[in-house]
Symmetry: D3
Subunit: 208 residues, 6 copies
């Protein structure tokens, strides 16, 4: 029986060649435009490909009554380089995921519990929104403003997936009012009045 010899020689070459099957993120290594450095294959275990952090509801005891729990490459190193990631959305009654974009990915959402009104606005300025019931899925094209609102009388839960391991997340209000962007620049570039800007900066912790 000579087969094992053949197998051993193939094993040698394929184990080298297989390095690009996956690239579990080494969060401490150098990062490049395509993602994090890869953990050494010999140290990779099944636990690198499994993530339990979406198993518990996020804390919705806040003003938006909602929470986003990400499983991007930074939280779930197994997705690094694989063109995909996930997040969990919890919306208590009345909860809202405010207007936001993902600069680097398209998103698909599945409603697992409750009902959600979700929508996005296109570059051509068309508005697409609908009330989704349990089991419905909706896709949000890359980079466009979109939102999700609990449309029912009980908690809602959705899982969202992204076409990138690092989709980014830019929440409109937070981007405008939650940092040190000078009020004058905000007002000039959004047509919002000074009182509105100052009030929202107060709420969202912005300065300037």
């Amino acid at each position: 029986m000579i087969l094992p010899i053949f197998i051993a020689s193939l094993l040698f070459s394929s184990s080298y060649a297989a390095v690009q099957d996956f690239c579990v993120a080494d969060l401490n290594g150098p990062e490049g435009p395509a993602g994090y450095s890869c953990k050494k294959p010999a140290k990779v275990t099944v636990d690198d490909f499994v993530f339990s952090g979406l198993g518990a509801a996020g804390n919705t005891s806040n003003i938006i009554k909602a929470a986003v729990t990400p499983a991007f490459a930074a939280q779930f190193p197994g997705v690094n380089g694989l063109g995909i990631s996930m997040a969990r959305l919890d919306l208590a009654t009345g909860g809202v995921i405010p207007m936001h974009t993902h600069p680097g990915a398209s998103e698909v959402l599945v409603v697992v519990q409750g009902s959600i009104c979700a929508g996005f606005i296109s570059s051509a300025n068309s508005v697409y929104f609908k009330s989704l019931k349990m089991g419905d899925i909706m896709v949000f094209p890359q980079g466009l403003l979109h939102f999700q609102i609990n449309a029912g009388r009980s908690s809602a839960l959705a899982y969202v997936s992204f076409s990138s391991p690092s989709p980014g997340l830019q929440i409109l209000d937070y981007a405008l009012f939650g940092n040190n962007l000078p009020s004058e620049l905000i007002e000039q570039t959004t047509f919002l009045d000074d009182a509105t800007v100052k009030k929202l900066k107060g709420v969202l912790g912005g300065s300037g």
Copy 2:
């Protein structure tokens, strides 16, 4: 108030420029390597971006006690060109999604109900499998053999997402025994004996 003039001129240009925000599949148009042709933007509605076909359980009254319901570009035209798609997995008690690959995408799975033993095998011939509980997610790198088995005593439900709108699906048994690939070629290339091949061809409807 002169702003509307500004807006109107921008509208004109951006409506042209926005065509690539999305490309809802026109399943009757020519298809290219990057996907289906785009439906005319003027005919696109929110219903192109929403799909309800994953809302009902697949029929698991079959020998594998399981069902896969896809929401790929062919079923859900809104994902065409957006680098993402989904499917629903239903596993009755004892249900199995047999060994398979997706030639064109990585996959991430979230367990929504029950528990599932899932695993994959790498090019370097390492095996990664684990029993997943509700809320756990697992990623399967592109093109590798993988499987899902109901690991509990009740039905299990999972949603899977893919890093392509057309990930493809090659089920091992079906590819080997469910078509007209001559038995002799199967035997030569898999080391399976003739009786086994013939028996599985009988079960899976293969000829030759």
Copy 3:
């Protein structure tokens, strides 16, 4: 002299093979996720690769005292499929290009006349802005909110280039207040009050 024979045979094959050198957009053909269909190579002339539409200043007699003139694939078919496009920014004294994103491209800007205060906000909510003088260039990463303001006492002119032939353009105010997105949804997802929303809808032509 036998060379022409060789050349003729190579010409034959290379003229076939060369089709992918470029793909000048046929705006009337089917469109796909990668862009417009290609004009037949035999009908392509140098004028497909040259565009004069950025040679004249845009009309800045409007409330923002500014104008954006695009040379995307829809206006400049020669860039289709080539991963690049341009636009011209004119800013009269006091002019502002309001907060906006390009969902599908990064942008680089060069100041050709005057001075411009430009900035963007990252997913990590950091603000990067600076006053640019003639000859300075600045890059805006894909999908992030950014703006440009005339920072001088005379007109300013900039050319911007994009990493896509169809970068898209989503102007924040226009997306929020210039369409039929219901005021209630805007208010819920932006924390803006009803009076502000209604006022801006009035200015920007929105309904609902």
Copy 4:
């Protein structure tokens, strides 16, 4: 003669800019999703771009009477980042390259000696196979199960090229029976019976 000054200044900038012409793999540096780190350009020589390892026949004194000799990025660092690689297939009389996939690349094969019966199975479960004679080429789309069998009475030799520097290689029998994947899981996911699985595990060195 002032030209050298011009040249020198261009040299400076272009030598910096040229780094991305190629990225010869530094197999000891960190690896990322796009491939290996680059060797310093100053240390690169023509020998990084030339590989002689495919010049000798692989050892076919084994049960499959065949050998695969790869020139992937791990063996031939010059192809790193260039979207291409090669391998050599030797098939003694009666030799077989068993059913396998390349998870990360399409493949094109050219028969250089002898004749080879080659085929693949699509996601739609169609079978495409043909007997190839010397000089014929055949393409195998990414990720699909395929095989090659010596179809003649003498040795056969083929060169195969891949659309990735690290295509991966997953040999079906080896993936199923050459590791520690528990027999029970194999049986449940392939419909093979226990005796068949155990027998092949014995041959291929698998445990569990």
Copy 5:
């Protein structure tokens, strides 16, 4: 036996989803930036994936004593969309493939008969060339000037593969002297003198 029901339902969905496994070129359909339109899957046969046109030597009875026979998407429709293609190089004794580039692909060459001196020049202006013997392979990074010369006393044969189905081919002499590019422009942009330009235009059939 209920399995066939399961299989039939999967067949339905996967046959739809599988369209992107391959996209055999329909040379008469519209072409886009990603390649040719796809032939209907039902009309695809194994002959679309096999090409015999490289089986015969090209005609080397010409001034360069060499021939290039392409198997790009235009000649070999099966490679459309698959990121790979091939060509055959025949070099009679003294034969030369003149200095050229492939604008859209990297290339890997394997010497099947004879010996070949091959080389390329990088953006950093380094020269890499070597005499290759039978079985040696060499890679040429995308877009760089390169050449192949018969380095032996008998005919040489090589197969080359490309990282694109439509790599393009720009032969330097042909680009400069084989068309209607005005001599004055050639002279200004190459520093060649008028007599040299005119002489080579005569040889290569150029005008202007």
Copy 6:
């Protein structure tokens, strides 16, 4: 007011996830096929995204009366990974940017001052050239030979943008005559005579 809690938790996750918004080049870190390593986000400032090196005219006191000043990733680290870069072209009266290619990018040029005759040659050996006036833009598809010549009686200035942060630059004369490529190889692969080659080697500093 509980909102800040929500914001703080989102900040935490999004600051991790946002790493791929941009990847400012760390020129001292390891480089990979996708570009340079990323500078730590915490050390990034607005000055990484702004470059003033194109603000001054290049030195045109040389034999070509022209200068190219690049703002590629090596000079302007902010563009690393963003798919775009720029350069400045200065052409004194009579100035010429000689025949060259960018192996890794398409280019778009805008004339800011003076007039420029620009052109390129396709793989199909068609010539496309035109005299451009101020404000005209022209696109040059990836990898093709092209040139720019001052077409007026005064200085000309153009900005060019590229579809890659590291487009590369291969100047034909410099590649042929400005290094140690042996004259014999040049003559064999270009049909230029020995005297011409030796003369140009003298001018351009080549040896061999």
